[in-house]
Subunit: 359 residues, 2 copies
């Protein structure tokens, strides 16, 4: 059974504003390495799946940057979404294209905006997950062992072990829950059988299509009909753009995983970090005198526990603590570090004031 | 008796870095108005002295900017210093040039990097000071009533009233003291007869030259000799540059005022502000929700008591307090407001690291 990877590179985030912009979202930034998160995701899965069986789904507008970062990506493996419709429609489309190309295949789905510290462990667990998917017809999901009562993630409640593959337990996934309130998050953390939903999956192509057919036919059928009649998936082709744009915007978690009874969870203990905000960088990069500095000329004087990022400017900090300072060509952010999650409020304000040039 | 004003526009400061640079020091910045401090100084004294009797002394390198800001300045009224030698040499030179041009004149000396809120009061006091100088042969200095135990200013101890002109008391100036230690500054503040040294003076041209001859002949005589032999004061003329550069670097306060017994002080109660650091702007400009914003696109969210200055960039502050944030084309400063005085440490660091492009 041939294995494929479907890398989701579509998201446009604001959590690394002003470095991340509409034209250059997080997965394409060189935040803490010479490589982007997207490139790291591709390189990691290549330990298990060859380049010719790696597919990339992204907004049509990001295709050029994907081609530049992954020059050996076969043209037919690049799926451009004519519009953002969350994860279910693009995963359904990828599965349909794979079913036509290699009906007996299995596939994993990988977001490209996360960091994974231990690639070997990741590959071992992914191999086990794919084996589980291939032999047991399960939908495999990767759960992250929570380290804090984070309210920004969905949680998955697990039950007994359904199977063990190469020493890796596949736990019954009993419930998917949306981003919880803080009190609930504390409860989940203390109970020990809740995991963060990482958005990484593994399944047989035929299995996920059956599940789409059962739980989300309003996504699957229009795509099947379009492929049967027109065939093309060029995002600039009006019929495809029209068909795709009419699909509901829905996540695979909400549309399929929450409903299916055939879901098992692998505990993803491979040093996962969602790099969800500027302060996340502190866990991923070495500090210098307690400060984290990235790029540019940065002068720190009597300053502690700061994150300073500069693209091409001098940044000088004097007597400050616990700040995030980011300087790009046209914008400067100065934020208290424990307010990093609220960056969206700034972005919203810019949107409200129609300062689109900064978005 | 004709009155002249000598405006000192020479200084290169770092206290408004990164906005103030070697090529654009404080007096030439548009910090809190459409007008520079230099222009405001010129306009103010024009209430008493016509343009053709206003002289400007500055580093040779600033002559172009002075000409641009004051297009009606007669060419012969612009004195370019070939080298920075503190205030005594350039004041001596201005007095010598005035003595040749108008021997019976009086003159006032005005730094151009201060802000004065009440121009009418200033003009009234300056008129009284010049009258005192003209009729009593005194050296008049303006003292500022201290509002804090500031350790960045020199102080002047006063005694009895020597004379009263138009209702303005000319107090005996008994002692000039250098920038004091904090304990001493507290003492001066509580004693009530100490004033901050504003660096503004008034005297007859002949009086100051006599005093130079007595207390600072090492500055006066080489200038007299140069003028008698060569004549030119073109700062690019090698003989003048050579003669000027060999003068000691010394302030008029230290070289003359401290030593002379003929000094009287006018209490300068005209809303003087030395605009000595970024935080000084708060007293000079209206705040908005407790923040001071100057120029550019500035977005404040949950931020208090901050000073944000931007030349052409977006500056966004999130959840921060008591910060100074300054963004220029190539540099960004983020400083705790109560550390504004220590900005020189950043500038020194840049100098040490030979990052001259930012100075």
């Amino acid at each position: 059974m041939n294995r494929y990877a479907v890398i989701l590179a579509g998201g446009a985030g604001t959590r690394f504003w002003p470095l991340s912009r509409r034209r250059e979202p997080k997965q394409f930034l060189r935040l803490f390495s010479e490589k982007t998160l997207f490139e790291m995701t591709v390189e990691r899965i290549r330990g298990l799946i060859p380049a010719e069986r790696i597919l990339v789904c992204c907004n049509a507008g990001y295709r050029d940057i994907v081609r530049r970062l992954m020059p050996d990506l076969p043209a037919e493996n690049l799926i451009g979404e004519p519009a953002g419709r969350n994860t279910a429609p693009c995963i359904a489309l990828a599965a349909l294209l794979l079913a036509a190309r290699d009906p007996g295949s299995s596939m994993c789905v990988l977001p490209s905006d996360h960091h994974i510290a231990d690639s070997n462990r990741f590959l071992k667990l992914m191999d086990a997950a794919l084996k589980g998917a291939e032999t047991l017809d399960l939908l495999l999901t990767f759960g992250i062992i929570p380290t804090s009562p984070h309210t920004g993630f969905g949680y998955i409640r697990t039950g007994d072990t359904r199977a063990t593959i190469d020493g890796v337990a596949l736990l019954a996934a009993e419930q998917f829950v949306e981003k919880p309130h803080p009190v609930l998050a504390e409860e989940y953390l203390s109970q020990g059988n809740y995991y963060w939903n990482s958005g990484m999956f593994a399944w047989k192509t035929s299995t996920i299509l059956e599940q789409f057919d059962r739980w989300l036919p309003e996504v699957l059928r229009p795509l099947q009909e379009h492929l049967a009649s027109a065939g093309t998936t060029d995002p600039e082709e009006p019929r495809f753009a029209h068909a795709f744009s009419r699909l509901p915007s829905i996540s695979i978690d909400y549309g399929v995983m929450e409903k299916s009874k055939e879901v098992a969870l692998v505990r993803g203990d491979f040093g996962w970090n969602d790099v969800g905000s500027w302060d996340a960088l502190e866990a991923l990069m070495p500090l210098e005198n307690g400060n984290l500095t990235v790029g540019g000329d940065i002068v720190m004087h009597d300053s502690k526990r700061c994150i300073a990022v500069s693209r091409d400017k001098l940044v000088a900090c004097l007597g400050v603590e616990n700040l995030i300072v980011v300087a790009t060509g046209d914008a400067v952010l100065v934020a208290r570090k424990d307010r990093a999650q609220d960056l969206r409020l700034i972005v919203q304000k810019l949107r409200d004031e129609q300062k689109d040039q900064y978005l």
